[in-house]
Amino acid sequence: MTESLLVIDNLEVEYPVKGFRRKPFRALKGVSLDIKPGECVGLVGESGSGKTTLGRAVLGLAPVTGGSITFKGAEIGHLKRRARRALSEEIQVVFQDPYSSLNPSLTIEQSLTEPLRVTKVSSPDASRRVRMLLDQVGLPSNAADRLPREFSGGQRQRIAIARALALSPQLIVCDEPVSALDLSTQARVLDLFKDIQEATGVAYLFVSHDLAVVRHLSHRVAVMYHGEIVEYGEGDKVTSDPEHPYTQRLLLAAPVPDPIRQEQRRADRSRLIEAQKEIDLQASVH
């Protein structure tokens, strides 16, 4: 077995709630997870499940109040800003919204060189690196001089991926990177993620609400519900034959693109919900 790249242990995140003596909001209630080098771990959940918060906690953008995040053996959950900056070469991000994740008034080159400038890469080197990155994500090198508004959603997402790759990180947190994209674009961007992983061996923490997307890309899948991980295991198993009642409901709730099989699934779903109700009822009686 390979040594884990990232280990999250019993992580808690609490957001302060406005108002005097209000109880803080617990977004994560003791979450444990690990990612190996070169692995893609999918994180599925519905809105409010805490999946995005977990991604942000790994990036140092969420207030960690308990537990630990260990990256290559070092604790990174409570780093100060300065120490955190050194990590930028190791952990990067691709966000969901391709429209607000690039500064509209900076050219693509300026956005892409930003991480390079921090690590004091000379500017001709940075320029060369930018063309190489654009090539890697399948964009022409003359894209460098243009503004984000000249690109479509899918192209912007490619640019965001290029920015994440700029420092050759070992882990990229992908926060719903394809959910704002059209069906056909989504498939191409997912393939790009796969190709890059196979070429560079980068690991992904891939956050999504879509079981099918996660299944397509992830080696292992974790399912989140109300700030907790309710199921974590091999991707194929979790996304086709889950054990936890919530995951079962989640799986059957997504309609299949086939009228005949969807009718079947609908029936399965209502049966499942009845059965789970029955169990809940029995549990409350006993």
Binding site: S101, L183, L190, G235, I260, Q262
Partner: protein
């Protein structure tokens, strides 16, 4: 569009400047912008060249020549102390402009720096400065200026500096809101993850966004500063020893009966300067807003232009699976929808759509973003946004052509005959009224029933759409209910007046999967119960498979394939439909396990750049 943007910024490193010069160039082409800049330029020139333009000392009093009319020695005459009006006017420009500039600069410095810090760091900074700001805002400015004069004496510069402090909130609020907005943009998070420091982020990402609004505010505030400064002097509260426009007004007002023309010159100077400043700021704001608009439009255009419009291409029509005796309810024929652009060109978004919905049928209209599916839905309801209109074609609904109905008649069709379920549940309820009142109001008006009757029906409807506590939801405000509940409320609203056709625009897109399944169940149940036709707009094949009898696939404002759902799912014939099906991930193979490939990764890692 790509070309023009590229031409304007040939050198990528000068992009910041390029955006600025772009704006400057547009300001020169804007008539108001150009005129105001010329006037402001002349005023500044007059201020600089005052000693050259007139040789007369503005302070030189001559008791022998008071209140004289225009003459060769005094082109604009003399005032009550026999001083030359032209000389005072020109030199007054210097003091008035310099004073206003001082006040505005003080205000901008304090406000912008305070706003940047408070907005970026929030917490401690924010509460202190916002309290200070509301304290300053609570003071009637002129009273403070008067008090400051009592303390500091009548100095033009002192008064303007104090005034600057009083006006700092104008800049503070602007900067603060802008910073708070930008701070939550993902590109700021991305910069942080890239290890960029705070100062760098403020300078590079935040200042570049707030710069233009600050310039606009500067011009506005400077106009106010000129007015206030003139007002103070006019009241006789300023420094009488310097020639300012306000002092001239003060002198002229006292002699208004004797020599009314005296008041004209300083009034004109003040009015002209402040108007020019306000017009300049206005023009700049207009240009900025316009560039924002083109951005949005481009986004839309980019999506639609992705595939070329294949006009005249025939849609693939699948044969009926059995005999369908149901009558046609809605027949859309060769519908063309376009938006009038400011430059007079019509931008077409729907290029001749034909569509048929039978009574009691659920018809799916599926397509990717920019395909024109929502535009088609809106034009059936005649609810296109500003600038959009039906250019050609007919929308035949139960014997009436909706495309050519008067607004008044169309209003009668909406709600009662055709209703609508929107995409975003939370933004489609008026936040200021209770859920119940929004449900009851259309019923009262459309069905002519009493308020009590409407409430009773609304409660029944809420119960029917599966809301656990109808009474409570009826009295709740939209922000107090969840997205799923809000969508149930909107569905209740759509069926409340017993329509024949419901148009549902992506009704489950904004919802979680488990909620989506419940809403789909609800729609199916209601459809069966009421026998209503549904035209459902969606991008999700799963939703179509779940709900629809028939499907039409749209691309680039045209329908490429249409027919019974089972037939199309079993045998998609148009290449575009086939591509879409190929992109579907459901039922695809899983990625599998990592183990066997792990070694290869570590091996390749060294080779990659």
């Amino acid at each position: 569009m790509t070309e023009s943007a590229l031409n304007l910024s040939p050198d990528p490193a000068s992009e910041q400047r390029a955006v600025g010069s772009h704006l400057a160039r547009r300001m020169l082409r804007n008539a108001t912008g150009l005129a105001s800049m010329i006037v402001l330029g002349l005023i500044v020139l007059a201020a600089i060249l005052a000693p050259l333009l007139t040789q007369t000392d503005p302070a030189l009093a001559d008791v022998r020549s008071i209140l004289q009319p225009s003459s060769a020695a005094h082109p604009l005459g003399t005032d009550s102390a026999g001083r030359d009006v032209l000389a005072r006017l020109l030199h007054g420009t210097r003091y008035s402009i310099a004073g206003a500039l001082l006040g505005t600069t003080v205000a901008a410095m304090i406000g912008v720096i305070g706003g940047l810090l408070a907005g970026y760091y929030q917490k401690g900074f924010e509460s202190v400065s916002s309290w200070l700001v509301s304290a300053i805002m609570a003071l009637p400015g002129i009273v403070v200026l008067l008090a400051a004069r009592a303390v500091l004496g009548p100095s033009l510069w002192m008064a303007m500096a104090v005034f600057g402090v009083l006006l700092a909130p104008a800049f503070y609020r602007l900067t603060y809101t802008a910073v708070v907005n930008v701070r939550h943009e993902l590109f700021v998070d991305a910069a942080r993850v890239s290890g960029v420091g705070d100062l760098s982020i403020i300078g590079r990402h935040i200042l570049s966004v707030v710069r233009a609004p600050i310039i606009i505010q500067f011009a506005f505030v400077m106009g106010i500063a000129i007015a206030i400064q003139a007002g103070l002097d006019f009241l006789g509260l300023g420094d009488q020893s310097v020639p300012t426009w306000g002092n001239m007004l003060n002198d002229a007002f006292a002699r208004m009966y004797k020599s009314p023309v005296l008041i004209v010159w300083p009034s004109l100077a003040v009015a002209l300067t402040s108007t020019a400043l306000a017009l300049f700021a206005n023009a700049l704001r207009d240009e900025l807003e316009r560039s924002g608009k083109t951005k949005k439009r481009r986004r839309l255009a980019g999506a639609a232009a992705a595939a070329p419009v294949l006009a005249g291409e025939e849609a693939v029509v699948h044969a009926e699976l059995g005999e369908d005796t149901r009558a046609d309810l809605l027949t859309v024929d060769s519908l063309v929808v376009g938006y009038d652009q400011p430059d007079g060109i019509l931008k077409q978004v729907v290029n001749g759509v034909s569509l048929r919905v039978k009574r009691g049928e659920v018809h799916g209209l599926i397509g990717e973003s920019g395909s024109g599916k929502t535009q088609t839905a809106w034009s059936i309801l005649r609810l296109l946004p500003d600038g959009g209109r039906i250019v050609a074609g007919t929308v035949n609904f139960d014997g009436k052509d909706l495309a050519h109905l008067s607004d008044k008649e169309m209003q009668k069709v909406r709600g009662r005959r055709i209703s609508y379920i929107p995409q975003e549940p939370m933004s489609n309820l008026d936040p200021s009224f209770t859920v119940g009142s929004q449900l009851a109001e259309p019923m009262r008006l459309a069905l002519g029933i009493s308020a009590a009757e409407a409430k009773k029906r609304a409660l029944e409807l809420l119960a029917r759409v599966g809301i656990p506590n109808p009474e409570r939801t009826y009295a709740a405000y939209p922000h107090e209910v969840s997205g799923g509940m809000a969508q149930r409320v909107l569905i209740a609203g759509a069926v409340s007046c017993e329509p024949d056709l419901v148009i549902a625009d992506e009704p489950t897109t904004a919802l979680d999967v488990t909620v989506q399944a419940e809403i789909l169940d609800l729609l199916r149940g209601l459809q069966k119960e009421l026998g209503v036709s549904i035209l459902i707009v969606t991008h999700n094949f799963g939703v179509v498979a779940d709900l629809c009898d028939r499907v039409s696939v749209m691309r680039s404002g045209l329908i490429v394939e249409t027919g019974p759902a089972r037939s199309i799912f079993a045998d998609p014939r148009h290449p575009y439909t086939q591509d879409l099906f190929a992109a579907i991930l459901e039922d695809g193979a899983a990625r599998g396990q990592l183990d066997h490939s792990a070694d290869r990764h570590t091996a390749t890692q060294g080779v990659t750049p």
